[in-house]
């Protein structure tokens, strides 16, 4: 099951040139980019692992692409995303986030039932084994 989180996730995977162009746009806006990865893409897992430090004051996408490729090489079977953070006063939040690497086989999620008080059933998303 294809994971649909972040921007562009309903599109076919972006090529490297397209990724570079998106990063270029982020840098033009003055956003700081960072690379993150995870093996647990649960929608409630907001904080993925950071791959290196966020990158400030970059002028060209080549630097970010290097980091993206290094992360892909280290974690070929993880999800990898690029974040762009806008530090403008009053915004101070993520402006753009998109997935740049997916595992070969995406396992997706399963339905988990939990029995509560009074035989009530709670449903939630769980990782599929």
């Amino acid at each position: 099951m294809r994971l649909t989180q972040g921007a562009f996730s309903f599109l076919p995977d972006l090529t490297d040139a397209q990724i570079a162009a998106q990063i270029e746009y982020c840098l033009q806006q003055g956003w700081a980019t960072s690379v993150e990865y995870t093996d647990d893409p649960h929608p409630r897992n907001t904080y993925w692992e950071m791959f290196g430090m966020p990158m400030f004051d970059l002028k060209d996408a080549a630097g970010v692409m290097e980091e993206v490729n290094a992360c892909r090489q280290t974690f070929p079977n993880h999800y990898v995303k690029v974040n762009a953070f806008d530090a403008t006063r009053g915004v101070e939040s993520m402006r753009l986030s998109f997935i740049v690497n997916r595992p070969a086989e995406e396992r997706g999620f399963g339905l988990v039932r939990e029995e509560g008080a009074g035989r009530n059933i709670h449903y939630t998303l769980g990782r599929r084994a």
Binding site: M53, M55, L58, K59, D60, A62, G63, E66, E67
Partner: protein, 298 residues
């Protein structure tokens, strides 16, 4: 075919607007003839190379890493800035910004700190020019555990792998840079252009002084001009002379003295002319003159 190529060289030259940058280089930088002619050579080569690639002739991706050697104040940083602009116009670097760093910005403080720090700087410089001032400090043979060696290794690797993304310019004093290259032959062979910046002559220094004053919107009285000429001659013979930078400092101090002089006679109303003019006494009050007098006396 012949006419077509001639035409395209003309248009390529016009399109890149490289003529403007070179003219600006001529106008803003006094002297430095060997440097300018070398830059013109590089420009011409890159332009021709670009055309060759358009005609699908073989072009080896030119190595653009450079080393600028010369005494302090001979304009290495300024030329590096222009070089970034020129390479940007010619399309060899994408952004054309200059990131100027020294040893402190590259070398870490503990084991494992150097590589990320250096990589961060390299990433910032991508798409532009990385200017490493006093690059010989990176290599300290007297301390074999110095982290500078690690920086050099990463630099070498990135200079090879990111030829399209990054141009590295190493700068420093001539003799120490030569020693640096002797001890790091890998670095020397990866740098295609070794450019030496000569010292300025007195006449050139004077011209630089005038150019600076023009930019700061000051003028010299006739006596002040003679004083400045004398000052340049004297200052050259004294220790710690750093070419154009010494002239800039001298002029800055003259401006201070002028301000004090004007403040002392504040009862009088001032004209714009007086505000702009440096008098001979502003320059003659310099330590440079008194030191010589003392030297003669003793």
């Amino acid at each position: 075919m012949n006419a077509a190529t001639e035409l395209s060289l003309e248009t390529a030259f016009a399109e890149s607007q490289i003529g403007q940058v070179l003219d600006k280089l001529d106008a803003e930088l006094v002297g430095l003839e060997p440097v300018k002619s070398r830059i013109r050579d590089i420009c011409a080569f890159l332009l021709v190379d670009k055309l060759r690639s358009q005609l699908q002739l073989t072009t080896g991706a030119p190595s653009l890493h450079m080393s600028f050697t010369g005494n302090p104040g001979t304009g290495k940083t300024t030329v590096a800035l222009r070089m970034a602009e020129i390479l940007h116009r010619l399309g060899y670097v994408r952004k054309g910004h200059l990131v100027a760093v020294t040893r402190d910005d590259l070398v870490g403080q503990y084991i494992g700190h150097t590589a990320p720090k250096t990589r961060e700087v390299l990433k910032r410089a991508m798409g532009g020019v990385l200017f490493i001032d006093e690059a010989y400090y990176l290599y300290r043979p007297e301390n074999e555990r110095d982290y500078g060696q690690e920086v050099i290794e990463i630099l070498l690797q990135q200079m090879e792998n990111h030829r399209d993304d990054l141009v590295v310019v190493l700068a420093g004093y001539k003799d120490r840079m030569e020693q640096f290259f002797r001890s790091n032959p890998g670095m020397s062979s990866r740098i295609a252009h070794h450019i030496d910046f000569p010292n300025y002559t007195s006449g050139e220094l004077l011209a630089i002084g005038h150019l600076m004053l023009k930019q700061m919107q000051y003028t010299l009285s006739r006596e002040a001009e003679a004083a400045l000429r004398e000052y340049v001659e004297l200052r050259r013979t004294q220790p710690n002379f750093s070419n154009a930078r010494s002239i800039r400092n001298a002029l800055d101090r003259a401006r201070l003295r002028q301000a004090t002089r004007l403040l002392a006679q504040r009862a009088k109303s001032l004209s714009a002319r007086e505000l702009m003019t440096l008098e001979a006494q502003d320059i003659r009050a310099s330590r440079v003159f008194t030191q010589v007098a003392r030297g003669r006396a003793s």
